[in-house]
Structures are given as structure tokens and as C-alpha cells.
């Protein structure tokens, strides 16, 4: 009823092969896109700048990471470093007078090249060993940024983003920055959705499931592992630049330290590895739930419902948040995306009980 399947006849291959073959899905995506496009109209400055904008950008980052971790199965614990390379490259390029459009490309390429260098380790090692290799990348990149003053601008410096415009629109107003971030997130989303159903995506999945089995059936694992690192790092680099220009308006090393890597991995895992909607849900969960809980608790304290010290007030949301992560993972180990998927499958055949999978 909600996802009506009867009467939906695909008479052409292009119809069955479209991104969302079921009309109900298309409706929902269209509605969400319309909501996102109209957000500056109905959202206050506060919500748009502090919640919506970082959520979109971190979703794009999670999607870039999930391409590598979820689709290609290559664990990466240095993704914040990849974003840092992009952010610093773009800021130095724009300061040198390069237009932002090209600086973004440059940021992506620089991240991709350096990301591939470290990704080369993936050709020899897997699993936990790969985690160690990418972790090394995180700390090396951090160290280089902090210690090479030509990059960081001094050990205690913050680099402000210069005034730039994108396609002749100055990135001064919040709306301009929001729409650039939205556009990039839509591009990444569509790209990953499409990668999943190309030979490239299938090759990545084959490599993930068993790399030597993939080699036996003729997938060049050397090529595809490197390509996975290249694509993912490219997207991560541009996302880092977008994060710097659209949200922080400045770059410091602490914006891309190890904690951010952990946050990104948590976003990908809580959302559901390899899932696109999981990228959005996971980023939203990790980024926004602590803030919502904190606001709830501090609301309760300020209205006199709870009488606790400030320190406890700051820690209760963390406890709840931790409990929620455990709870969700117990309830559905495959992440928030799987919860969505279960609901959708249930509604597909509702009011009948049997789901087709």
C-alpha cells in the first residue's frame, strides 16, 4: 500500500535499471530533495548553519569513506588526514589566486595521490594490519601539517579561508555555502549509488568478499584496490575542502585530528557499512544526537526538573549516547540503514506479513 508494486510494469530495460524503480521511493527522494532545497526558506539561521550544514558535509565524508570501507572492504583509519590534505591544498591554492572550482579539483587530486601512496599498503596487508597502515597515515599527516609551517602557517596558526566565489556566486552568505555543500553531497550520493551498480562497484564488492577469489574470476585486484583508494580519497579531499570553505571558514590541524577519524568510522559503522542512506543516518546520529541529548538534559535542568551539577549534566548525554549506540547495534548489528531497510521491506507487502527480500 505504501510502496505500491501492482500496476508498476517496467517495459524497458532503462526502467528496471533506473536508480529507484519503485515510484514510492522516487517520491520520497524527490520530497527529501525538495525539503533540502527549500531549507533556507523554512529553517532558521541557527538550524541551517549549526545542524543542517555540518550534517550534509559529514554525510558526504561518510559516503566517501563507506565507498572504501563498505564497498571495497578496505579499512581506513586515517580518513580525517585525507580530508585535511584536501582542506589545506584548497586553501593554499585559493590563497595563491587559483579559482575555487579548480582548487577543489586540486584538493581532490592531492588527497587521491597521497591517499593512494598509503593505500598501496593495502596491496600487501588486510584487516587489522591495514588499520595500522592507515593509522600511520593519520599521524604522519598530522605531524607534517603541524611541523611544516609552510602548510599550517605556524604552530599555533589558524588559516582563514580567503574570499572566494563558486561559479560566480560569492561564498559569503550562509545560503551560498549551504547550496554548495548540498550540491556536493548530492553529487557524491548519486556517484556512490551509481558506482554500486557498475562493473567497478561489483569488482569492489568481489574484492571485499574475498580478494583472491576475485582474482581467480579475473578481477585485477591490484587495479581495483588502488582505484578504490583513489576514488574515495578524491571524494574525501574535496569534502575536506568543502568543510573548510563552507562550514569552518578556517583550517587548523585540530579540525582533522585522530578523533575526527574515529567519528567518521563511527558514522560509517552506526549508519551501516556500504549503505548510502546509512551514510546520512550515521552522520546524523554521531553528529546530532549528542547535541540533541545535551539540549534535552540542559533543558530539564534549567526548567528545574533535574537538580544535578553542571559536570554531571555534561556527562549524562554521553552515557545515554553510549547506551543508544549499544542498543542500536544489539537491535540491528547491520546499522541504522538496516533498520530503515527492514521497515521498508515490511511496508512493501503491508498489510501482509511475508516479505520478499
Amino acid at each position: 500500500m505504501f510502496y505500491r508494486l501492482s500496476g508498476v510494469h517496467h517495459t524497458r530495460y532503462s526502467q528496471t535499471r533506473q536508480l529507484w524503480p519503485i515510484p514510492a521511493d522516487r517520491w520520497q527522494v524527490g520530497l527529501l530533495l525538495a525539503l533540502a532545497l527549500a531549507a533556507p526558506l523554512y529553517m532558521s539561521h541557527l538550524y541551517l548553519s549549526s545542524y543542517m550544514l555540518p550534517w550534509l558535509i559529514f554525510s558526504a565524508a561518510t559516503l566517501s569513506l563507506t565507498l572504501l570501507m563498505g564497498l571495497a572492504g578496505q579499512l581506513h583509519f586515517g580518513f580525517a588526514a585525507v580530508m585535511a590534505i584536501g582542506a589545506y591544498t584548497s586553501i593554499h591554492l585559493t590563497r595563491a589566486g587559483v579559482p575555487l572550482e579548480i582548487a577543489l579539483l586540486g584538493a581532490g587530486l592531492m588527497s587521491a595521490v597521497i591517499g593512494c601512496l598509503f593505500g598501496a599498503a593495502a596491496l600487501r596487508v588486510k584487516g587489522l594490519y591495514l588499520v595500522m597502515a592507515t593509522l600511520a597515515m593519520q599521524f604522519l599527516v598530522d605531524w607534517v601539517i603541524v611541523n611544516v609551517t609552510a602548510i599550517s602557517g605556524g604552530s599555533v596558526a589558524t588559516l582563514q579561508t580567503p574570499k572566494v566565489s563558486f561559479l560566480f556566486i560569492p561564498l559569503e552568505s550562509l545560503n551560498a555555502r549551504y547550496y554548495l555543500a548540498l550540491a556536493w553531497t548530492v553529487v557524491v550520493t548519486l556517484l556512490i549509488l551509481n558506482i554500486k551498480r557498475t562493473s567497478f562497484g561489483r569488482a569492489l564488492v568481489a574484492v571485499r568478499d574475498k580478494d583472491f577469489a576475485a582474482a581467480v574470476i579475473g578481477v585485477n585486484i591490484f587495479k581495483y584496490k588502488l582505484l578504490a583508494f583513489f576514488t574515495s580519497s578524491f571524494l574525501g579531499g574535496v569534502t575536506g575542502a568543502i568543510l573548510a570553505f563552507c562550514f569552518y571558514k578556517a583550517v587548523t590541524p585540530s579540525q582533522f585530528n585522530f578523533d575526527v577519524t574515529i567519528q567518521l568510522v563511527a558514522m560509517a559503522l552506526v549508519g551501516g557499512l556500504g549503505s548510502v542512506i546509512g551514510g546520512f543516518l550515521g552522520a546524523g546520529f554521531v553528529l546530532l544526537v549528542p547535541i540533541i541529548l545535551l539540549n534535552l538534559i540542559s533543558n530539564m535542568v534549567s526548567s528545574g526538573w533535574l537538580d544535578i551539577s553542571t559536570s554531571l549534566m555534561a556527562h549524562i548525554p554521553l552515557m545515554l549516547y553510549g547506551a543508544m549506540i549499544i542498543g542500536f547495534l544489539l537491535f540491528e548489528p547491520l546499522g541504522l540503514a538496516k533498520i530503515y531497510d527492514n521497515a521498508r521491506k515490511y511496508l512493501l507487502v503491508w498489510p501482509f506479513r511475508h516479505t520478499q527480500s
Partner: protein, 421 residues
């Protein structure tokens, strides 16, 4: 509350617009017309935990006292206290929220968050205090009109230690000084200053970085031991400080030769038994203990009246008193601003109020601090105090040191930043 909960869960069910669900949770601060709002958005949970509890307790107790004593010309002060866990993005969100709620004054007590918000505060014309954190060049009021360090920045603190060694410990000339620091931007900040002063005063500085977060320093200290320095300056914060002192003592460095940055608290020192570390010296920017008119009034009117904001035994500790001082400065600035320009208090008026502070010493709690439109550091004064086994006792008078070098470095930083633009 029940109603809010229901509304939240119902909206969350929609799932589609996550932002919509936030609508139910915005803090609904009662808008008393006359209240002045101060936002202290701190890190209670992640990096600065060694300090924040004490510090915030001091701030809250002082504001309670200030409200008992008439607030700001009759306007009560309201505090917005939030945790941002030192994440810049959460700091920005909390800042925007507090701004929307009408806060006119901000404190972040986290270098990454403060650095991310300095340009925003300048844009929005809202003053923030950066008491002993944040970037060094913020001391220049012309470059950062709305940022007020209001106390000796790290380079000034290093200068104070050098001057103390020069004047009280047999001079700097020909000495070997080991600078043992955490390998982070904060740890490296004083290096330039040390090198400059070394040139004019003729001593030798050797650098010994140890890795973040500073819980493992064994290799560094055996290196220090090999070089047999005359004096040691340790530069870290939080758990690393006690590790540094342990490292120094076990490697045969006398406690009296150990000198530390501001961040060396009573709880760090209480980890040592007996007379093991008696004689360690530290920069102090705010007097410790409760032997001060403000602290006495806090104890009498707030803590003993049962309205204290936390553990009673922490009243008078270093971090607590720094919190008190930070709010005392802000309240004084606000009082002057309202007296001069009238209510309601705005960011611009408060900035002017800060710049009217002249020889303000919070009834002896702080050095006489004069903030001008140019100098937001307020003179860079401090004292050197010594650990006597129970508490920090002052060993010098309020003074500043090598401020010319400090300001040269600030100006050079700015010139470099301009070049980059």
C-alpha cells in the same frame, strides 16, 4: 516535560527531516527582560577535563555572588553552560545557539574551539575571553578586537619564568636550560621566545618534545638526564604534568630546578608523597587559596549558604580561582559598560567596557590588569609560586617580563599571516 518528550518522539518518527526534530529541544531560556546572558561553553567531557569542573565551579560561584551583590547595575546575570567536548563543530553549534538566545559574552576554554570561533566573534561583535588558551596573536586588540585573553599569554608566562631564574636563581648567563614540552602547538608556542631571550641573555636552550597526550615521557627524560641541564622548564597540561615531574625527579633533577607553565594544579601535585616535590615552581596568574576578599565572600554567602556549585574542598584551588577571576573581569567590564553606555548591554558596549579596565585586580586576586584597545593581554603580569608540600606559595611580586620580545613576536606572526593572505 512529558509533552516535549512526546512531541519529540512523534516528530522523530517522521524521520525525513532530522532538523525538524531539533525544534523540540532548543533551550527555552526564560527571557527575563533585564538579565544579562553570559555563555560559558566548555569542555567537560574530553580534553580539558583536568580543569573544567573546577574552573566552571569557580565561575558559577562567582556569578552567584555577583548576583547577590546586585548583578550588573541591578540586572541579574544568567549563565548558559554547555559542553562542546572540544570539538570545533559542536562549539560552533553551541555558540550559534547561545547567540540566538541572546548571550553577549563567551568563554570556550578550549584552544581548538576558541580558534574556530575567534573570527566569528569578531564578525558578530560579541566579546569572548580567552584566559590562558587560544592563539597567541589574539593579544593584539587591533587584530582581534573582540577577543580578550585578559591574562599573561603563554609566551609571557615563559618570559616570567626566565626572568625569575635570572633574578632569583643565579642569573641566566651561561646556563643550560632544558625545555621539556608536549609536542603540540601549545607546547611549541614559547620556543621562539626562549630562543630570542637566549640570544640576548647568553644562555642555552635545549628542546625536548614528548608525544601527545603526554602520559609516556620516559625516553625524553633519559635524554634530558644525559645533557645535565641547570634548569628545567616543563610545558604541558593535564595528565602529562604529573608525569613530567615524576620523570624529572626520577632522573635526578632537583625539584627546585623544575619550573612549570600555569597548568600544574593541586591535584597534579597531590600525587606525590612527602617532601619529594617541594620546591617546584610554577607561573601563577591568579592567586590560589581562599585568603582573598572575593573568595571569603564566596565562602560566606554562597558556599556556606549551601548554594555552592560543586565540591566544597575545591574552593580556592588554582583552577577554581582562575574561573572566579575570568568572571570577575567580565562582570567588572559589564558593570563599567552599563554605567557608561546604559542598558541593555550589547557586544559593542561590553567590548568598550573591557577596554576601560584599568588596574583591575579583583580585590587582590589577580595582578593589576589594564586592558586597552591595543593590548588585550592586559600587561602580561604574573607571579612565580613554589609548592611547599600543601599549597602554592608566592615567591615574587606581580610583575611582567620581556614584554618587548613578546610583542615583537605577536607583530611578526601577524605580518606572516598577512603575507599569506
Amino acid at each position: 516535560m512529558k509533552h516535549t518528550d512526546l512531541a519529540l518522539s512523534r516528530r522523530a518518527m517522521l524521520g525525513a527531516a532530522a532538523a525538524a526534530s531539533l525544534g523540540a529541544t532548543l533551550p527555552t531560556w526564560a527571557q527575563e527582560k533585564a538579565a544579562v546572558q553570559f555563555a560559558t561553553l566548555l569542555d567537560f567531557t574530553r580534553v580539558y577535563t583536568f580543569l573544567t569542573d573546577e574552573y566552571s565551579q569557580g565561575q558559577q560561584d562567582y556569578i552567584k555572588l555577583a548576583n547577590l551583590e546586585g548583578g550588573i547595575d541591578g540586572h541579574p546575570i544568567k549563565m548558559i553552560i554547555k559542553d562542546h567536548a572540544s570539538y570545533p563543530e559542536r562549539g560552533i553549534a553551541a555558540y550559534n545557539e547561545a547567540k540566538a538566545a541572546g548571550a553577549v559574552f563567551f568563554d570556550f576554554l578550549s584552544t581548538p574551539v576558541a580558534n574556530a570561533l575567534m573570527p566569528r566573534c569578531n564578525e558578530d561583535h560579541l566579546p569572548m575571553i580567552a584566559f590562558a588558551h587560544g592563539r597567541a596573536d589574539a593579544a593584539d586588540g587591533e587584530a582581534f578586537p573582540y577577543v580578550f585573553p585578559s591574562a599573561a599569554i603563554y609566551r609571557s608566562q615563559a618570559a616570567l619564568l626566565l626572568k625569575y631564574i635570572d633574578e632569583h636563581e643565579g642569573g641566566l648567563k651561561g646556563k643550560k636550560i632544558a625545555f621539556v614540552h608536549i609536542d603540540s602547538p601549545f607546547g611549541k608556542e614559547p620556543i621562539e621566545l626562549l630562543n630570542r631571550v637566549a640570544k640576548t641573555k647568553g644562555f642555552e636552550v635545549k628542546l625536548y618534545p614528548y608525544p601527545v597526550p603526554g602520559t609516556e615521557q620516559a625516553a625524553t627524560w633519559s635524554e634530558v638526564r644525559k645533557n645535565r641541564p641547570d634548569k628545567v622548564i616543563i610545558w604541558g597540561a593535564g595528565p602529562g604534568q604529573a608525569v613530567s615531574i615524576r620523570g624529572a625527579v626520577t632522573n635526578g633533577i632537583a625539584p627546585k630546578d623544575i619550573h612549570s607553565v600555569l597548568w600544574l594544579s593541586e591535584s597534579d601535585m597531590s600525587a606525590f608523597k612527602g617532601n619529594e616535590v617541594v620546591g617546584v615552581k610554577r607561573v601563577t596568574l591568579v592567586n590560589t587559596g581562599t585568603d582573598n576578599p572575593i573568595l571569603k565572600r564566596i565562602v560566606e554567602k554562597v558556599v556556606n549558604a549551601g548554594n555552592g556549585s560543586g565540591d566544597k574542598k575545591r574552593v580556592g584551588w588554582s583552577g577554581y580561582n582562575i574561573g572566579v577571576a575570568s568572571m570577575a573581569i567580565a562582570v567588572q567590564a559589564a558593570r563599567q559598560a552599563v554605567q557608561k553606555a546604559g542598558a541593555p548591554l550589547t557586544g559593542e558596549k561590553l567590548k568598550a567596557g573591557f577596554e576601560m579596565l584599568k588596574d583591575f585586580n579583583a580585590e587582590g586576586l589577580m595582578p593589576p590588569t589594564t586592558i586597552t584597545a591595543k593590548d588585550h593581554q592586559g600587561g602580561g603580569m604574573g607571579i612565580i609560586s613554589e609548592w611547599d608540600g600543601k599549597q602554592w606559595t608566592p615567591k615574587s611580586d606581580w610583575a611582567s617580563a620581556y614584554q618587548d620580545v613578546v610583542w615583537d613576536l605577536i607583530k611578526e606572526d601577524e605580518a606572516k599571516a598577512k603575507e599569506k593572505k
